[in-house]
């Protein structure tokens, strides 16, 4: 009986004795489980699902569940390695006292079980508690009505139990593996095993620097939003690799180089810091690089999702320039008068009048740009799109008369002259040569034009070309008919208007319009070329659900990443405190004053801790352009807003980071100065 209780008892004792390191670990586990439960709860909750746009939101949150599990696994593995390093001495002692590795495995098993049980209980209960809060926030975001019923999602609990059981099992197996590999003497001394002085690996350091340079260069140079996504992923991977290389190898190389500079190195302020740093960096480089990458992730996620959330009303208006837009795929009188008639009929029925009417016609063609030469041939466009940064744009051909009318301008063009208006990019040439047509001279660049839903919906940038008259449009229409054959583009009659009634009524009108226009299709199949009807009210909830969901997920994941960074910092401070204690004792015996010791600690701890923050700031600065370009794909073109949001995020994050630094560094000072 007592034998059976021995292992759990030893396990409990082990946790209690090491509470300085175990408590934060258990807290993190609970936090991760709590977050997982909340996200999973919202994903599965039928209440959320029934909300307007809730299904869409749940799709995004579902993705968040996966991220949570994967991240928990990686992160808990990492923090557990800190714990095991500290526990090895104790296990070595047990081993010498006569416990074999099987006994130790049993202790470890009980320990894992206890931690699992405690953090599960804490995590799930906090999760249930806070899930209501999250639900309310989400309801608010989607503009639904809050419910005051308290729900518990059983399925989420089961998922959490299973997923985290697997993670804990893997962690335990990993710890067992480490203990089985070591002999008792090694276990006893594993914490103080003398390590070789780090050699500067200039090769890796240079590779890191080169990778970072290339990634930064790519991020800055890329101009096309579509290729930005691809390049972004590549450069993210490169930046991660480079960050690790630079923190691990580069930092040591820098320290070594500093040591070679005798005049600099042999100064009281630098002597101890630089030599300690070389050691710290070798071992902690990976941890610091992780902090740096986590910080960058937090910054990117938060700033872009906040930005999308703030800018969603603008984006909506860009996507839907008017409450209702009827786009008829021809400028032929017969069909357009039918559709316009249908609109009139429906609006009469509802007793509404169109306001703020926007009407013009255009031709849209896609073209591949080779500088100022536009390729229309689809095969050659395909060829072009295989290059790294292909410049493919949608061309909107509009008459200058429409431009003048809509924008209140008074421009006249002679033959062969055009005015251009590029979106999501620049057009820097003075001429445009259209394949098989001829060259236009760019007379002017328009500063603005009415938004077009097709343009804001598409990833590719657009170029509006305002031509002299209807005849030019016609010629270009005929030209592309010849080139594209059955895949040809259409002329568009664009007719949009706002309504002053509420959203539900707008949705009804949208649906009625849809029915009415469907009738035209049945009655005049020969004249039918297609009509698209956009009703902003109908899509608004979906739109809000998507950006609200991203925002929500951004906040949740941001919180998790920050928690992770905090914990890594804490463990670093504590484990280094124990290591550095004896060093500072020696220094004080040799005649270093307390003040000098404090200064030396300050300077190296500051450098070590703020290096990741600074590095992530630099990463952010270089990523800014490319992220802004990717956001433009979502229709968010306000780079100023993004800049402000990013700076705010960086400021807030930096303040929090500093606060955490001060709290954790206090425990470091306490340990080093022997108060513990």
């Amino acid at each position: 009986m007592t034998q059976m209780l021995l292992y759990p008892k030893l396990a409990v004792n082990g946790i209690k004795k090491n509470r300085r390191t175990y408590l934060p670990y258990i807290l993190t586990c609970s936090g991760m489980i709590m977050m997982y439960y909340i996200v999973s709860f919202l994903t599965l909750s039928s209440f959320v699902g029934e909300m307007k746009g809730g299904d869409y939101m749940q799709l995004i949150l579902y993705f968040g569940c996966g991220v949570m599990v994967v991240f928990s696994a990686i992160f808990l593995f990492y923090t557990n390695s800190f714990l095991i390093r500290r526990r090895k001495t104790e296990f070595g002692l047990y081993n010498i006292l006569g416990m074999d590795k099987r006994n130790i495995s049993r202790i470890l098993f009980w320990e894992t079980l206890i931690i699992y049980a405690v953090s599960m209980a804490a995590g799930i209960s906090c999760g249930i508690l806070f899930s209501k809060l999250a639900e309310l926030a989400l309801t608010r975001m989607l503009g639904g009505t809050a419910s005051y019923v308290f729900n518990v999602e059983l399925k989420s609990i089961v998922h959490a139990l299973v997923y985290y059981a697997v993670i804990f099992l893997l962690i335990m197996i990993n710890s067992l593996r480490q203990i089985h590999l070591a002999n008792p003497i090694e276990l006893m001394h594993s914490e103080s095993s003398g390590e070789k002085p780090p050699k500067a690996n200039y090769f890796l350091a240079i590779i890191g620097a080169v990778l970072l340079g290339i990634a930064y260069y790519m991020a800055v140079v890329i101009k096309q939003p579509v290729s930005a996504i691809f390049v972004f992923f590549i450069s993210v991977i490169m930046v991660i690799a480079a960050t690790y290389l630079l923190f691990i190898a580069g930092s040591v190389a820098v320290c070594r180089a500093l040591q070679k500079n005798k005049g600099y190195y042999y100064k009281t302020n630098h002597f101890i810091s630089v030599s300690r740093m070389a050691y710290r960096m070798k071992r902690n480089g990976a941890g610091l690089a992780s902090i740096c990458i986590l910080s960058t992730m937090v910054l990117v996620t938060l700033s872009s999702t906040i930005c999308l959330y703030i800018g969603e009303e603008d984006m909506l208006r860009q996507r839907y320039p008017r409450n209702i837009v009827i786009d008829t795929y021809t400028t032929d009188e017969k069909l357009t008068s039918l559709t316009h008639g249908a609109v009139e009929k429906v609006l009469d029925e509802y007793g509404e009048t169109p306001e703020n009417v926007l009407q013009y016609s255009y031709l849209d063609i896609s073209g591949g740009f080779e500088e100022d030469n536009v390729i229309l041939d689809p095969d050659r466009i395909d060829e072009l799109s295989n290059s790294l940064d292909p410049d493919i744009r949608q061309l909107f051909i509009v008459t200058v008369d429409d431009y003048n009318r809509l924008m209140n301008k008074n421009e006249t063009l002679s033959d062969g002259e055009v005015i251009v208006y590029p979106t999501k990019g620049d057009y820097g040439y003075d001429t445009i040569t259209l394949d098989e047509y001829g060259t236009f001279t760019v007379k002017a660049r328009a500063e603005d034009f009415v938004d077009n839903g097709v343009d804001s919906m598409q990833m590719v940038p657009s170029l509006f070309i305002f031509v002299k008259d209807e005849a030019v449009v016609k010629e270009l229409y005929e030209l592309q008919l010849g080139i594209y054959g059955s895949a040809h583009s259409y002329m568009h009659d664009y007719y949009g208007f706002d309504l002053s009634c509420d959203e539900d009524r707008q949705t009804d009108i949208g649906n009625a319009l849809f029915d009415e226009i469907s009738k035209i299709k049945e009655e005049y199949p020969d004249d039918w070329t297609g009509v698209s009807i956009d009703c902003a009210a109908k899509d608004r909830t979906e739109f809000y659900a998507m950006y609200g969901g991203l925002f929500f997920l951004g906040i949740l994941l941001g919180a998790v990443f920050i928690a992770a960074a905090v914990l890594i910092m804490y463990y670093k401070q504590v484990s280094e405190g124990f290591e550095d204690k004896s060093r500072y004792e020696i220094l004080s015996k040799v005649g270093m004053t307390k003040k000098e010791i404090r200064q030396s600690i300050n300077s190296q701890v500051l450098t070590v801790f703020f290096a990741p923050l600074i590095a992530s700031g630099v990463h952010m600065a270089f990523a800014f352009g490319i992220i802004a370009r990717m956001l433009s794909l979502f229709g968010l073109t306000d780079a100023g807003l993004f800049a402000i949001v990013t700076l705010c995020c960086f400021g807030a994050f930096g303040a929090m980071y500093t606060a955490v630094y001060f709290i954790t560094s206090r425990s470091y000072f306490r340990i080093v100065s022997g108060k513990e």
């Binding site: 390590e195 020696i586 015996k589 005649g591 003040k595």
Partner: protein, 253 residues
């Protein structure tokens, strides 16, 4: 005038639990002349480490005074103590106390760096000191790469490089094998012959037999002392052994 004057030094500790007082040093009085080589011997718990800590200004006596070259150690302020140690004393410890992140060179230079000396001046001092201790070839090695004896000689070089008024050694041979011990002791003798004042706390009769004078401490008091006079090391060894036997058997010398 003696370089070190220890007068009626007392040290009492209050136990952590309760108010029971432990007298580590009852009443210690002795003095050391410049150029002397003194060994302090005593059993574990006799108070010799406490005495050394007081001499090193790491600890303050409860009573009495310690004058080093005319400076009263109890008057040295806490925050000046480290600088005082650095400028006036050199230390050699049983467990070497070398910093593993430094090369032998940097370990030796450490006290000079702390005083803010320029690298050019340091370099001038480094080589002679290293050569004197026979570690000139090891300067670029790290502590983990060299033997115990070499480590202790590095520590001695670190202690000597500031040209201290007094070299304090706490069981310097405690962690060394007999060959390394012999080497270190002959280094100490040579330093002493060049005029260095040395005060060494030790268990080892062998180590003590290299000194000019041996003080025996028992129960917090100087119990006995032996002068070398004209004795050889071996004769002194014999005398020390006899004195220790006598002390252990409770007799009065």
């Amino acid at each position: 005038m003696p370089i070190l004057e220890v007068t009626n030094v007392k040290k009492t500790y209050t136990a952590r639990i309760g108010s029971a007082k432990v007298e580590a040093l009852k009443n210690v009085t002795f003095s050391a002349e410049k150029g002397e080589y003194i060994a302090i011997m005593g059993e574990s718990g006799s108070g010799k480490t406490t005495l050394l800590n007081i001499l090193a200004a790491l600890d303050k006596p409860t009573g009495g005074s310690v004058l080093l070259d005319g400076t009263d150690l109890s008057k040295v302020k806490e925050r000046d103590a480290a600088a005082f140690r650095r400028d006036n004393l050199g230390f050699v410890f049983q467990d070497f106390n070398l910093l593993d992140t430094f090369t032998v060179r940097d370990n030796i230079l450490l006290p000079l760096v702390l005083t803010g000396m320029s690298y050019r001046d340091m370099e001038k001092k480094l080589l002679p000191a290293a050569e004197k201790l026979g570690i000139a070839a090891l300067l670029d090695k790290y502590p983990y790469e060299i033997s115990g004896g070499q480590k202790q000689r590095t520590a001695a070089a670190r202690a000597m490089i500031t040209e201290p008024k007094m070299l304090l050694a706490d069981e310097p041979t405690g962690a060394l094998d007999s060959k390394a011990s012999d080497e270190l002791l002959s280094v100490f003798s040579r330093l002493n012959a060049e005029g260095q004042t040395i005060l060494m706390v030790t268990h080892s009769v062998k180590a003590a037999s290299h000194a000019n004078r041996v003080l025996f401490i028992k129960d917090g008091e100087v119990f006995h002392q032996i002068y070398r006079g004209g004795c050889s090391n071996e004769e002194l060894y014999k005398k020390i052994s006899d004195a220790l036997t006598l002390m252990a058997s409770g007799g009065n010398a």
